[in-house]
Structures are given as C-alpha cells and as structure tokens.
C-alpha cells in the first residue's frame, strides 16, 4: 500500500535500483537522464495528438457542429491520421530561401517547446530538474521561440512570412513584459523561483490571493502562444499563415507540435503558479494522486483557452499592442509594487493573503473602470 501511495517516485527508485545492479553508477545516471529526456520530449507529441482532437471537438461544440467523428470512436484518432498525412507529404523548399536557416527554424522552435517541460513539477519529486531559477528559466526558454519564428519568417523569402515575423516581434516582445511581471508577483509572494517550492507554498492556490496576476498571465500567455484573439502572427485571413506559410510536410509539423506543446506548457505553468500545481484533496497523504490533479487542472486551463479562442474575434494590431502597453503593463506594475509592500509588512501570513487579495481586486476594479470610460469615450467620438 505504501508503494502505491507514492507510486511514481517509488517506481523510479525501483528502476534506478534495478539498473544500478548491473551498470556502473555513471552509466545508470546517464541512462536515467536519457529516459527522463525522452519522456519530456514525448510530451509535445502527445500534447499535439490529444489537444488537436480536443480543440476541434470543443470549437466544434461552440460552433454547433460535431467536429471530427470519422476516424475511431468520437474521432479520437483524427490526430494520428493527420500525422500520417503530414509524414507522407512532399518536402518543399522555396527556390530563393536561405536553406540552412529555413531548415534550422522548425528544429529550434521544437527544442524550445520541449525544453520548457524540464522544470515543471508533475508531482512532489516528479520534476525533470527543479532549478532554483525555474521561473526565470521558463521566460528565457520562451524567448528562443521568438528567434526561431523570425528565422522562419525571414528565410522563407515570402512577403507574408516576413509580415508575420514582424508582427511576432511586436507581439511577443510586448506581451513578454506583463507575463514576466505577473510571474514576478508570484515569485515575490512565494519567496522562491523554484517551481517545486512555489507549489509547496500554495496551501491556498495563489490564484485566489492574486487573481489579477492570474488574469494577466493567462491573457499574456494566449498572446505568447499566438492563439485567437491574439493570432495576428498567423492570421489566416490576412497573411495566410504568417511565418510558416512556406513550410510543408514534417517541417510544418514541427511548428504545429511546438504550438500545441506551448499551449499545454503555458497552461501547466498557470496551473503551477496560480492553481496549486499537483496539490489537491488527498495529495499530501498519497503523492501518486498529484500528477492526476496536475493534469486535470492543466486541461481545465487548456479548455478555458480554447473557449476564448472559439468565442472571440481577432484584435487589430494597434488594439492588441495598446492593450499590452496601456492596460496590462501598468496594472501588473501596480500589482507587483503592492505585493512587494505587502510581503514586507510585519503580519501573519493570513493577513498578508487578505491584503494581497484586496490590493489585487482594487487594481482590477480600477483597470476595468478606466477601460469602461475609455470605451465610452471611444463610442461617443
């Protein structure tokens, strides 16, 4: 029973003990690193297969149609059919493309997407590498995506791809700032950048104490993953597909996998930072439940993002940048300032939580009031 209670960690320990029986210590370490690495690299692929199906079903339901329903029961094998289709497609490289850069871009974007999973804790002790700079690491790896998108857009030698790349820079750089500021609020509140420790600190999920930071993070995360209503970088109806317009076959597939992996990753980060990660009823006594709570919460956030995608029209680029610079950045700065003051006040933890929540709600209210006034002025003019 004790074995089952912490099943995954015990399984890993048993595996290490088993391979150490006939391997030298350094080889066992190497094999373990390889196994964990392969598991983490598999996540993006699994995410793509599962989330494409889920997205089509969810959006289909929102648009009052059944969604995929031909391949397998409820169409669950649609993703596999699409993967096979991508694999057998011809690999086309534009004539005047910058070939090395063109070929490197999809690889780089996939590497960045896979690396994000290193620091995410799936349960207590179930983390690739619990870096003590975990949150900063996530931000740094996220910025590699921008480069690969720029490389793809420029090397394709296509005007739509280039416009897409330009939009990417404007969008990703602008939304990185509110995203980092809202993560910084959590870091200040948890007093740690270690992902595992941030989860341990959340006796009550931080989303309840810092709702504003959570809202800003989720909005910025939608923009960072380039999904509707912030999908200007690929806007099908304006610039056809943006930066990956010239890619075909498996190289397009890498972009697709990276996109869905990033969708799952930002949801997992939101879960870890704001929704208590793997915490849940009974997870203390039986840590094996942790990963299930973690996945359930992550899927919930993914569903929220799909819901937003299915129901909101696309923003114009100036509106989108104005939202980042004039609304999200000031609000998250004010929030960060307030949290910095609150965590230094000498009072019990519960009072700090209450103060943080009050400040968050006040800033949220002020932001919404100002937005409402601006909307009225805009409607009158």
């Amino acid at each position: 029973m004790d074995f089952v209670r912490d099943l995954f960690v015990n399984l890993a320990n048993a595996w290490t003990a088993w391979i150490s029986g006939f391997m030298p210590a350094w080889l066992a370490t190497l094999v373990n690193y390889l196994v964990v690495g392969i598991l983490l690299v598999l996540i993006p692929v699994i995410a793509t297969l599962a989330l494409t199906w889920m997205e089509r079903k969810v959006i289909g339901r929102i648009q009052n149609r059944p969604g995929p329903n031909r391949v397998g029961p409820w169409g669950i094998f649609q993703g596999i059919a699409d993967a096979v289709k991508l694999l057998i497609k011809e690999d086309i490289v534009p004539d005047r493309a910058d070939k090395p850069v063109f070929n490197l871009a999809p690889l780089l974007i996939f590497i960045a997407a896979a690396l994000l999973w290193t620091v995410l804790p799936f349960g207590r002790g179930l983390v690739g590498q619990d870096l003590n700079i975990g949150v900063l690491y996530l931000v740094a790896i996220g910025s590699i995506t921008t480069i690969s998108v720029l490389m793809a857009g420029w090397s394709s030698n296509n005007k739509f791809a280039l416009i897409g790349a330009f939009r990417v820079v404007a969008q990703l750089l602008s939304y990185e700032i509110p995203m980092v500021l809202s993560m910084a609020a959590v870091v200040l509140f948890a007093n740690s950048m270690k992902m595992g420790e941030i989860v341990e600190k959340q006796i009550v999920p931080f989303g309840l104490a810092l709702p504003l930071a959570m809202i800003i993070y989720i909005l910025a995360a939608i923009a960072e993953t380039g999904r509707a209503p912030f999908d200007l970088l690929e806007a099908d109806s304006e610039i056809v597909a943006g930066y990956f317009i010239e890619y075909s076959g498996l190289k397009f597939g890498w972009f697709y996998i990276a996109e869905y992996s990033n969708l799952l990753a930002v949801s997992a980060i939101a879960t870890t930072l704001f929704l208590g990660g793997w915490r849940g009823p009974g997870a203390e006594a039986a840590p094996a439940l942790g990963p299930f709570y973690f996945i359930a919460k992550t899927i919930l956030v993914v569903f929220l993002l799909m819901w937003i995608r299915g129901t909101w029209p696309r923003f114009r680029i100036d509106q989108m940048l104005a939202l980042a610079w004039k609304v999200l950045v000031p609000a998250s700065l004010a929030n960060l300032l307030w949290i910095a003051v609150v965590v230094k006040l000498p009072m019990p933890a519960a009072a700090q939580w209450a103060f943080a929540l009050a400040g968050n709600l006040a800033i949220l209210l002020a932001t919404l009031t100002m937005l409402g006034r601006a909307a009225k002025r805009y409607a009158a003019a």
Binding site: D98, L131, L136, V139, G142, S143, I144, I147
Partner: protein, 162 residues
Amino acid sequence: MQIAVFILLSLITLGAAVMVVTTQNLLRAALWLILAFFGIAGIFILLHAEFLAVVQVLIYVGAIAILMIFAIMLTRNVMDPTQPRFNRQWGLVGGFAALLFIGLTAIVTRISWPVTIGEVPADAISRLGADFVGAYTVPFEIASVLLVAAMIGAIIIARERE
C-alpha cells in the same frame, strides 16, 4: 572533463564570433552572434553561475539579438550578399580593435583575480539580489538611471513632429 567542456564551449563561442564578422549576409551574422551568446551562457553554467547564464539567454538572445535582427530587416539593401563586406575605414577600425584587444589582454593577464576556494554557495542568487540592494545599491541605481535616460532619448527621437 571540465576543461574539455570549457574548450568546446570556447571554440563554439569564438568560431561563432569569427563568423559574425566574416559572413557576407548581415542577418546570418546576427544568427551567428546568437550562437556566440549561447556559448557564453554555457561557460556561465560551467562556472556555476546559472542565474547569469539564464539572464544571458533572456537579455542577449531574447531581447538584444531580436532587436538587432529587427533593425537589420528594416534596413534596405544590407541583406544583399553582393554588397561589399568592408568599406574604406576597415583598416582604421581594425587597428583600434587590435589596440583594444592588446589593452584588454594586458589588463586581464596582469590583475590577480580573487578566486574563491571551495564550493560556490548554494544560495548565490539570493546573495546576488541582496548585494544589489545592499552593498551595490548606488551602481545598480546609476545603471537603471542610464537605461531610463536612453529610453527617454529614444522616445524623443522617434516621436512624431507636430
């Protein structure tokens, strides 16, 4: 083992840096520069300065290199590979670069660097943070004032004339 990794990282960094100044295509030069930045980040990790490594990737790769590429893309004709690589001032600039290299080498080899003995402390980040708002508050604040001044200057230059 550490020496081997160090040599490998140094070769990557230096090789990428050489490509930056010799490649014809400006955008590829910027991409080589990114590889050089990654090499430096790797050296930081080798020195147990993970924070600096991540900041190196975040600031140099994630922001500075991207802005460079953006500037290159907005400049006309520089992406044409038939453009000459050097202009008339290359001799002068090369001379100054050589002078700078000699000066830096002289400084680096003569100073006795304070080397800590034993392990790097585990809480290096919190000590770095504490020092920024403790012993080194004034230099830190001066650096941020400089950045604000640069930002205001850029806004004034880029502002539309009325």
